[in-house]
């Protein structure tokens, strides 16, 4: 997990100074991505068959990130549908964050 405060967005397009290439050459990178800031997140919960959406990241700091999945889909509606089918949506919270597009 890569963390930082909001000022980190300044560096979002800086690239990784050869880190990615080096690590990929070593064969240690299985996947990953930069993310858009938390205020562009959408949080998905499923409770009693009701789909609950929230704008923004999950709020409670005691929540812990238990894993992540990189998905490639058409739009946010499809991402929500995929997230709502994950069992963790029923007891925990799934936060959807758009991935930064690689600079053209």
């Amino acid at each position: 997990m890569i963390c930082g405060d909001p000022s980190g967005t300044e560096y979002a397009t800086d690239g990784c100074g050869g880190w990615s290439e080096e690590m990929e050459a070593r064969g240690v990178v299985a996947g990953g991505a930069g993310l858009h800031p938390p205020h562009e997140a959408t949080t998905v919960r499923l409770r009693d068959d009701e789909l609950l959406l929230t704008d923004g990241p999950f709020a409670e700091t005691k929540e812990q990130i238990g894993g992540f999945v990189l998905i490639d889909c058409a739009d946010l509606d499809e991402a929500i549908e995929i997230a709502s089918k994950h069992p963790a949506a029923g007891y925990g919270t799934i936060e959807i964050r758009p991935v930064l597009e690689p600079p053209v």
Binding site: D55, A74, D75, D77, A79, P98, V104
Partner: protein, 395 residues
């Protein structure tokens, strides 16, 4: 028709179409703005074109092509420009465009305040400054809110579409909720009454675009029925006038008839939802010739069919009390005292009203005093003070 009228009528359509053809919300708004500025210069000289909406859309689209051509660097952008240029005469009145825009602005992945602001800006054409004033925040705050919402739509890929049928049951209520919130913001505050007008205009549009959705008709009926009483709700001194004491001859009876007719045709579809039921309650009040003629058993039965939120429960208790007598009403309201309504000014105000009807003056006085402490607006405080004086004289 003045340019102002044309602006209000066409803005949403122009922006909605431009978002569809360019996929860029900021650009769509800017080009729409430029098209209206061009109209302001040209029309007084050349005359208003036969189809002003088509003229504005074509002008805005041409601005977008110019801008994209200047900015285009990558091959993908150039293809986008080429596609736009070939699409010489874009259909400007695709009815789905404004509905697309409405559903996208009201997407549940956006915060409620962002949905409301976006709807007012992109569909209704209010300026950022006007929206900021309406919600009592600095213009920079509102501007940031709008920018962030548009960025989220773009980055998170919120689709620009009317949701497919299987999503409509969960997504239509989100649109209705935004319009109703907008209406209530304007209805609860005389200064911001223009918001209710915008909400009614947008609800009319929604009814036109979704003719088979009875809750859209129900919502518009509800707004019209409330709004018909707008001018009779306050006394000259600014004090609230309760429903039973409003001058019914000054209600807008044409608007009441329109609301009732809309409600009837919505109910004919046989799928009553919360907005149709609330409109039916409003119709019971709006069509009673005098306060005494109100069909309270019917009002109580309708409240029983709504989701039982604390406020609905209170209103239902009032209706039962009006039907079965103040002693029954008082008992029901007292039962609510321990619940989630504790601290809500309408609870002691309602209790005070039943106590007054029971002529229990000292108890009524205490309850009015309690309500006065909790009241949130000057209109309510003035009304409660008036009542307090009445019961104090008698106790």
């Amino acid at each position: 028709m003045t340019l102002e009228d044309i602006y209000r009528q066409e803005w949403g359509q122009v922006v909605a179409t431009l978002i569809r053809v360019t996929g860029d919300w900021e650009l769509a708004e800017e080009c729409a703005q430029e098209a209206f500025a061009a109209a302001l210069q040209r029309w007084p000289v050349d005359g208003v074109p036969d189809r002003p909406g088509a003229w504005l859309t074509t002008t805005a689209r041409n601005r977008a092509v110019d801008w994209l051509r200047r900015e285009a660097v990558g091959a993908a952008k150039l293809r986008q420009v080429a596609a736009l240029e070939h699409d010489q005469d874009p259909p400007y009145d695709v009815p789905d465009d404004r509905l697309r825009l409405m559903f996208t602005c009201c997407h549940p992945a956006l915060a409620m305040e962002a949905r409301v602001a976006l709807t007012l800006r992109t569909l209704a054409g209010l300026s950022t400054a006007e929206i900021a004033r309406a919600f009592l925040v600095p213009e920079t705050t509102m501007s940031k809110r709008l920018t962030r919402a548009k960025q989220k739509i773009q980055h998170a890929h919120i689709p620009y579409r009317v949701p497919p049928a299987h999503l409509l049951p969960q997504r239509t209520p989100a649109v209705l909720a935004v319009l109703y919130l907008l209406f209530n913001e304007g209805y609860s505050d005389v200064v911001r009454s223009n918001l209710s007008g915008e909400a009614i205009r947008l609800a009319r549009l929604l009814v036109q675009l979704m003719p088979s959705e009875p809750e859209a008709g129900g919502l518009l009926a509800l707004m019209l029925l409330h709004d018909a009483r707008r001018d009779t709700r306050l006394a000259d001194d600014g004090a609230l006038i309760t429903l039973d004491e409003q001058d019914r001859s000054r209600w807008d009876h044409g608007q009441i008839k329109e609301g009732v007719d809309l409600l009837d045709s919505a109910l004919d579809r046989g799928a009553p939802g919360p907005y149709q039921i609330q409109a039916a309650i409003a119709a019971c009040h709006a069509t009673a010739r005098t306060a005494g003629d109100t069909d309270w058993p019917q009002v109580a039965a309708l409240y029983a069919r709504l989701p039982q939120t604390p406020v609905v429960t209170l209103n239902r208790a009032v209706a039962i009390g009006m039907a079965d007598g103040p002693a029954v009403g008082l008992r029901l309201v007292q039962e609510l005292a321990e619940g989630p309504l504790a601290g809500y000014h309408l609870l002691p105000a309602t209790r005070a009203d039943f106590l007054r009807r029971l002529e229990r003056w000292p108890d009524a006085k205490t309850a009015y005093e309690e309500a006065l402490e909790l009241a949130t607006t000057d209109a309510e405080r003035l009304y409660l003070q008036k009542r307090l004086r009445e019961v104090s004289v008698r106790s």
